[in-house]
């Protein structure tokens, strides 16, 4: 496919980064609140659960809007990728949407319907689990390769389900739970925090194990992945990523052992960021890994520019007031909310 001149090339890269940013913002922000949902069974009904819920109440649906931006941005900037990926991942994506709906309303209804609160709590955890697992499976299915026929999906209906995609699914569940646990360490006090900290240790071990397993498996999925990681001399740069993961993990456990408030959460975010950069190294510049590059999937420059004008104004504004919202609701939460 012919690539337009430099302009198209640059715009597509810009948009790839914008969408990657939106997805990352989604993963870390909805990650910790999905994680809190995952940890709900480990918290005692009553005070502990109410506190945990209050800690994410002000921000969870703002977090989810990034998911819409990721999906909408893909449709606009890389329609071909959107058209190939979504039918290929039909089942996990629908499952994720339904899980998010269930969790979103369970979240609200548990306050309104105290008689069925236990049932809504189960729905909250169940919805969070389905959504997290489906997102992880989506990632794995994308990495392992999607069959493409012409300008559409060319594979079968269960292609997404493989040992590798299950591994990534479980890994993301574990990782989200870690974010949730460290978030609770940062934001709560008393027994909630003690429980969360205990879980954070185990989840930290599990997360590092998962990162190791997925990282070890990925280069064997496709020779191009291996090439992007191990080619000389770029290996000097790419090798920093696993090294930093080791350093980050060590700092994480030390911070947790010192009973630090914020450092565990921030370091867990760091582990996510490094894993995400690792994924970027494997995939870039493909958007449907191994099949379609960002330039092949790109909409014309006229489309991408039209959007970029708005995005370059609005995304900073959105970031500013997101930061403001987090700042307003900073500090430890009680069971009763803020006064």
């Amino acid at each position: 496919m012919p690539v337009d001149l430099g302009l198209s090339l640059d715009l597509s890269v810009v948009w790839a980064f914008v969408i990657a940013f939106a997805v990352f913002a989604y993963v870390v922000m909805d990650g910790f609140d999905l994680g809190v949902g995952l940890l709900f069974p480990g918290l005692r009904p009553g005070e502990e659960r109410d506190t945990a819920m209050n800690s994410i109440a002000p921000v969870w649906d703002g977090n989810e809007t990034w998911l819409i931006l990721g999906g909408g941005g893909l449709f606009a900037a890389f329609p071909l990728a959107y058209a190939i990926i979504l039918p290929a991942l039909y089942a996990p994506i629908i499952a994720m949407l339904l899980g998010l709906i269930f969790r979103g309303v369970a979240f609200e209804f548990r306050w309104r319907d105290p008689r069925h609160r236990a049932a809504w709590d189960v729905a909250f955890t169940g919805g969070s689990l389905v959504a997290a697992l489906a997102q992880g499976i989506t990632l794995g299915a994308l990495l392992q390769g999607i069959a493409v026929a012409g300008r559409g999906y060319g594979g079968g209906w269960w292609d997404w389900l493989t040992p590798f995609s299950l591994l990534t699914g479980v890994s993301l569940v574990v990782g989200y739970a870690l974010l949730g646990a460290t978030w609770l360490v940062m934001r709560t006090e008393g027994t909630t925090r003690i429980h969360a900290r205990r879980m954070a240790f185990r989840l930290g071990v599990a997360t590092v194990t998962c990162i190791g397993l997925v990282s070890a498996a990925t280069p064997f999925l496709d020779a191009t992945y291996a090439g992007r990681w191990f080619a000389w001399p770029s290996v000097l740069l790419t090798a920093q990523v696993p090294l930093l993961v080791v350093v980050g993990a060590a700092l994480f456990f030390r911070a947790l052992a010192r009973d630090a408030d914020r450092a565990p959460f921030l370091l867990a975010l760091g582990l996510f960021a490094l894993s995400y950069i690792g994924l970027g190294i494997s995939i870039f510049p493909d958007i449907v890994p191994g099949r379609v590059t960002i330039w092949e999937a790109a909409s014309p420059p006229f489309s991408q520019i039209f959007m970029l004008v708005g995005a370059s104004v609005l995304i900073p504004v959105i970031l500013a007031y997101t930061a403001y919202a987090y700042w307003v609701f900073r500090g430890k939460v009680g069971t009763e909310g803020y006064h």
Binding site: N54, F75, P79, A83, L86, P87, V105, S303
Partner: protein, 473 residues
């Protein structure tokens, strides 16, 4: 194989129709309600009368629930294009994708961002800034409507595009794309519909409480405001609908033919068919009750003007006539019922008996859901009337669908139906519970001391009316 793909197509349409039908009612309500809230707060700031701020708090709680349901059902929509209509997405993405991205960016974030201030910030930011936040939420809902209706209108009346080597529609002139020929009409028609829908709901709630407690100042104020809205907007809506119809006749004549039930051409004056049973097989309307030449008068402003019928179109280009025919009649009938209710309220007002006319109040209660039904009927008219195309005249629905297998779509359709009815059924139940509670002198707001959130539904203690009723008794 052909049969299987046909089934998948039908199922994909059913699924999309189902999820969008559920989605559309929440924005239709929240667009109007956001503006109503802005008016209430503005009146309170201008007059200082407590009744306005009480009503503001009363409706704010309902708005929060409806808005949250609009958000969660909206997330599904932004992925349904890709899951079910991937070929359509590939082909129209360069044109429609950026407009949808603008919808997400400007409107959605504006609404969601300022909603937090609107819901919880009265004590934190002061009155002026709070009012600004309320206005921004109202403006945001209108931006949403602007962009999404522009997208929808482009699918009806595409222009300003080119076609590239890969068969994609690509933008040539953004101004022409955004302001395509049917867009202004559709935007006005839809926003007025949202206002009418909200006025009918507010009026019904006011009337419901007037029937129980005639002196309740909150019920009086909301009923009176809603009836003013209805009396003013219902006639405007009928005019806007007429203009929209003429625009449709110009650009999508087959849709109007189906709406009118005109299978045959009428060279010298077409009749207006009021009712009848359209029979597509026989290409006729059975038991038609019709007024001679009236359709020509409405559509061409001349009794003897010729009107073409579906016999001038190829059969494979016909929209499903009975669906369009009936949904159009439901919409129009409800529109005139709204006008009737508005006029009745004016008459009651002139007589000085607006709050003392139980039958008017009962009628207003009965008409409470009419706006939602009319919005859905109008939406079915325009979307089914666009068939068999997704992009009118250019891209057929059958050529738009994802390479899906029927069982996959069927299973997800069942899942959507179950989850939506359970989840949104509960949500509507909670809204009705809030509405069943009469507006109080000191309406409890979303008080500090309770779990605070930036958006979404409010926690139970903040909205439990009984908690505040008991001390008074």
């Amino acid at each position: 194989m052909y049969l299987a793909s046909l089934d998948a197509l039908v199922l994909a349409r059913a699924q999309f129709g189902f999820t969008v039908a559920f989605h559309i009612v929440f924005p239709a309500f929240s667009i109007g309600l956001a503006s109503y809230l802005a008016v209430l707060e503005g009146l309170w700031l201008a007059t200082g009368r407590a009744v306005y701020i009480n009503l503001f708090k009363y409706w704010l709680k309902i708005f929060a629930v409806a808005f949250a349901m609009g958000v969660v059902s909206g997330i599904v929509m932004s992925y349904q294009f890709g899951t079910n209509w991937s070929v359509y997405s590939d082909k129209t993405g360069p044109v429609l994708g950026p407009m949808m991205a603008y919808e997400v960016l400007s409107a959605f974030f504006l609404e969601a961002g300022f909603l937090g201030v609107m819901l919880f910030g009265m004590n934190k930011v002061g009155r002026g800034l709070h009012f600004l936040a309320t206005l921004m939420v109202a403006v945001g809902t209108c931006f949403s409507a602007f962009w999404i209706l522009s997208v929808n209108s482009w699918m009806q009346t595409p222009q300003g595009y080119g076609v590239n080597a890969q068969g994609q529609f690509v933008p040539a002139d953004w101004w022409a794309i955004v302001f395509n020929p049917s867009f202004p009409y559709r935007l006005v028609h839809m926003v007025l519909a949202a206002y009418l829908t909200t006025a009918l709901v507010v009026g019904a709630v006011g009337a419901w409480h007037l029937l129980r407690e005639r002196a309740n100042p909150g019920a009086r104020a909301m009923f009176s405001m809603a009836m003013w809205m209805l009396a003013c907007v219902a006639p405007l809506q009928i005019l806007a609908g007429d203009a929209h119809g003429l625009n449709t006749l110009e650009h999508q004549p087959a849709k109007v033919m189906a709406m009118e039930g005109h299978f045959q051409s009428h060279p010298d004056g077409a009749p207006l068919i009021l009712f009848g049973l359209p029979d597509e097989e026989a290409a006729t309307v059975r038991y038609a009750l019709q007024v001679p030449k009236l359709s020509s008068l409405i559509l061409q402003h001349s009794l003897d003007a010729p009107l073409k019928g579906l016999d001038t179109m190829k059969r494979e280009d016909w929209p499903p006539v009975p669906v369009v025919f009936w949904s159009f009649r439901v919409m129009v009938a409800l529109g005139f019922a709204m006008l009737g209710l508005g006029l009745w309220s004016l008459w009651a007002r002139v007589k000085g008996r607006l709050y003392a006319m139980p039958w008017l109040h009962r009628a207003a209660v009965a008409m409470g859901p009419a706006g939602f039904v009319a919005v859905l009927a109008g939406w079915i008219t325009t979307e089914v009337g666009r068939q068999p195309y997704t992009v009118y005249g250019l891209l057929r629905t059958a050529d738009s669908v994802s390479p899906l297998q029927a069982p996959a779509v069927a299973a997800s359709l069942v899942a959507f139906v179950l989850v939506y009815f359970a989840v949104f059924g509960m949500g509507v139940l909670y809204i009705l519970r809030l509405m069943a509670h009469a507006p109080q002198g000191a309406e409890p707001g979303l008080q500090p001391g309770l779990p605070i959130r930036t958006a979404g539904v409010t926690p139970a203690p903040a909205v439990d009316p009984d908690r505040h009723l008991q001390p008074a008794e």
